[in-house]
Symmetry: C2
Subunit: 639 residues, 2 copies
Amino acid sequence: MKDSRNVYLTNIPLKEAQEQYLEVIDFSTVYGERERILTVDALNRITAKPVFAKKSSPSYNAAAMDGVAVITGKTHGATEINPIRLKKGVDYEYINTGGHIKDPFDAVIMIEDIVEIDAETVEIMEPAKNWQHVRPVGEDIVEGELIISANHQIRPFDIGALLAGQIREVEVYRHLRVGILPTGSEIIDVSDELQEGKIIESNSSMFAALVQQYNALPVRYPVVKDDYDLIKETILKLTEENDMVIINAGSSAGSKDYTVNVLREIGEVVIHGIATKPGKPAILALVKGKPVIGIPGYPVSAYFVFDFFVKPLIFSYNHQLTIQLPVVKATLSKRIVSSLKHEEFIRIKLGKVKEKLIATPLDRGAGVTMSLVRADGVLVVPQQCEGYDGGSEVDIQLYKPMEEIQNTIVSIGSHDMVMDLLGDKMRLHYNDLYLSSAHVGSLGGIMAMKKQECHIAPIHLLDAKTGSYNEAYVRQYIKEAPMAIIKFIRRSQGLMVQKGNPHSIKGIEDVISKKLQYVNRQRGAGTRILLDYYIEQLQVDTEELMGYEREMTTHMSVAAAIASGTADCGLGILSAAEAMGLDFVPVAWEDYDLLIPQEMLKDTKIERLLEIIKGQDFITTVEGFGGYDTNRIGEIILL
Amino acid sequence: MKDSRNVYLTNIPLKEAQEQYLEVIDFSTVYGERERILTVDALNRITAKPVFAKKSSPSYNAAAMDGVAVITGKTHGATEINPIRLKKGVDYEYINTGGHIKDPFDAVIMIEDIVEIDAETVEIMEPAKNWQHVRPVGEDIVEGELIISANHQIRPFDIGALLAGQIREVEVYRHLRVGILPTGSEIIDVSDELQEGKIIESNSSMFAALVQQYNALPVRYPVVKDDYDLIKETILKLTEENDMVIINAGSSAGSKDYTVNVLREIGEVVIHGIATKPGKPAILALVKGKPVIGIPGYPVSAYFVFDFFVKPLIFSYNHQLTIQLPVVKATLSKRIVSSLKHEEFIRIKLGKVKEKLIATPLDRGAGVTMSLVRADGVLVVPQQCEGYDGGSEVDIQLYKPMEEIQNTIVSIGSHDMVMDLLGDKMRLHYNDLYLSSAHVGSLGGIMAMKKQECHIAPIHLLDAKTGSYNEAYVRQYIKEAPMAIIKFIRRSQGLMVQKGNPHSIKGIEDVISKKLQYVNRQRGAGTRILLDYYIEQLQVDTEELMGYEREMTTHMSVAAAIASGTADCGLGILSAAEAMGLDFVPVAWEDYDLLIPQEMLKDTKIERLLEIIKGQDFITTVEGFGGYDTNRIGEIILL
């Protein structure tokens, strides 16, 4: 029982699970605990009572204009022909806007409408009406008036109104305490030193930030290892100390996933298993009447399960409607297939291309945090839906403001660290210019350009026939619109090998003959095409190259595989080898250029990009990396 | 010069002013100051450098599934007919998701695909592929990969990704310090005791909350009185201590408005006077190269000038696009006239009535903070526009989420504190039910209903012919759709008089005969109609009642006028008299009911409302106020 492998997971639709769970939760005990705080510190807090003004604002009759305070009775009959003279201190007093209108004065005449005769006398040409240009007591807020109701989240101008109504303290609910418990023997705390085979705990910090953002109080606890009794004891303690508890990882059904059994023993598991991807193994439980939520460990699943269940609970406690993300219509750039078994949440990159918003799905793996970091929004594929065809119009929930998306240059294609540098320089020079880089290889970039998913496509494609780069491929694949190439950088490609080159690799032929482990790039990557070119020249079969089938999507991940010792060699660029502390055997120089539709060249975003890459600052930095040549940078070739 | 009254204000269009001002500001010195903070504390901070991963994530080859780690070479040839048996510790090892795949293992077979023969042996029916079900080193994040660029605002999942990439500290810009200086001899600090003729300082607390909300650091200073040298000295000190300074009030051209002259002496006034309403007397200046903004004192002007100039400066410093409010289309319920002299910002109440979003302008006075508190959004009338006709479709910038607006019962009509109570009970019982109450008097309510601006209209209208309430008026004015009346409460109307009734007022006739000061309600108010009914019965002229022309829009403001001594008497309700410590001479009982279109009766929001007002909790509270009768509460009369 403590180590039982076969836990049955249900497959309950998300909405149903949310409703079922919310129904069994009773927050009412928490609401009893209130605190009086200073109004000036009350931003975003939730009122526990309606607030009525203690005093009127203004609390006295105040001049609404600069001018003179007068007694209406003494102004009767004044005309342009028969002006009336008033005596200072008796009939009038100078007054500024906001000044106190005291007895016997009962009106204000504007400064523009009086004639100063001398320091003691003014002349008026029109009678004053009773209380004219006077802000009466309570014009803004009247004593006893309702300023804000109970269960209201306090905004900046509420604070202004409360103070104007002489409310210096407000009664609010105390913050909801959300205990966050990371578990897992392979997990180490963020403050601990990383060890081989261990994973640094990052989800609980993300949860803490989310809890804070949603206006509750996060309480992070140290990692607890996979030990049934220890987990049980800790959860019991946490439910004492908090209003709600999040347990991260161990929610699945593996041999060390104790969470669900512990929760069954000490409380009630309302739901285990929801029909979503990611997020399936979520646990929704109650311990001593308090919500305890088991969240899967993969960071993307973790984010979504938090979003599905913890977020609405916090908003519900705060008596607020759960914030909904704004939704836009976008055109899907490629077909998406999704199972009928679950509702799927797919991270999306958006790009405004020719007035059309194009949605491109990002990596769907639950382990890829960067798919959240890079996402502009999320596409929800309902459970009853098998997916969407490319070109379909879909609803995207936005993670970023549309304005930012509209100011983003979307780049899809091959990766090089100069693209990171470019994005960074764009952010440094302009507050309203962003670069989004997706790395799908050069041919992937050309295909994305063909489908108008991107503004630029960084490519490095060797034409085997001519030995020249890029132009031939573009001419072959894109006939839809006139294209241009912005010459970018030349870079050195070579074989990345372990430090000291222990196998004395000089070329691909050595890797084959010595039966070493190669690690390849994905189909369509310029570097893969370069490899294929060499293999063809060697007249050998790809099967003779061990590891030809093992595909990585970036230079850096190839380098990482070599550095970790799971491969001996891979083709890549100097900067990747250097970043990973590998040796590098140069093989060729290649042109890494930016493909762009001609009509985009007049776009302000692209003009700014050109200005940046041609700038001395950018060129100096690139040259400093080593392995780069910037001779033709910024040159434009119309195809 | 120090006390010159005639300061010339320019009338520069807002957009121009914003651009001109932003152009002269140089924040670059501030950017030099950075701080290294813990990643876990970095929510919402702005990166000062791009951040690259220190380590890959995962940092080792990890199992992607629960199962057994195997050596691919030893699985070749396995089929259902010829399964292969593997020996524990030699050929396989049990492994959980996330577990470390150590040499010599190079693949994972899922738990579902193995057959346990005994504790030391498993059988497989299929060969494993190299690295299957293994998350390779760097699958999520590769060492050296760009996680986030410079000038990026850190979000919760960025924190997760940074930690996954072993980034435990990040370099961020320090917070922008915004110094907030309230000025004015009539102003007292929020912590001081209120005195006659003084105004409590509320704007700087609103500014502080806004600065905080926009991700900068507010620094509030004590009130400085209107003294040229003191103001000068203080501003100089504040520009030393802060990156930006806000001076509240004194920005106009009155005799005590020193700010602009001080700023001219110690710095440069870039702009004084913008073509907006509210907000015209804003001052945009530079002192020692730092932005110093003079903001007018009226709370609504103060809010808008902050929004026009301080907000974009903060966002600009933070390298972020200024947050734009979401915009919706709505139908204007009445004509709006605006001057060609300025761009006008009109607070708007929205109501979803029969699938149509109706926009009703709120009080346009710059002194009415409550118009901001009550607003759902703002309508911008451009300078070149004289206004809009009723029924026009206009763009409204939203202050609240649309979902909240859709869940709001819009009430327009007469005010009574039971409406405040109702709104409060609605918030207590439902997280997704809101009441918006606008107080325009009973006839105003009927007119609003006629134009479909509201869902319910609280009214108390005496039909002089029959002596009965409400029904006759509704039948006379509304013929567009079948109406209903929800019987609400009966309440006691009477003459509110000063404590002890010093003039021994027994009825309106005494007020007339004793030539006392009356204070009236606005045209269309039920209470005004009641007064007119009595005056008619007395067969006297309204001119004989002194103060008949002085109009207030609520019971409470009538009571406030009497309490402050500017009037002797006014008609109103018991609860208002009691709230203001006045005596009360009963005159009549009246029916205060809710007018509603019949078709709204089936609306969920209204069903909930009925449930609340018929509840014992509500009835007990109302009866407890005194002066109310709830006998027929909740009864529905179809007209």
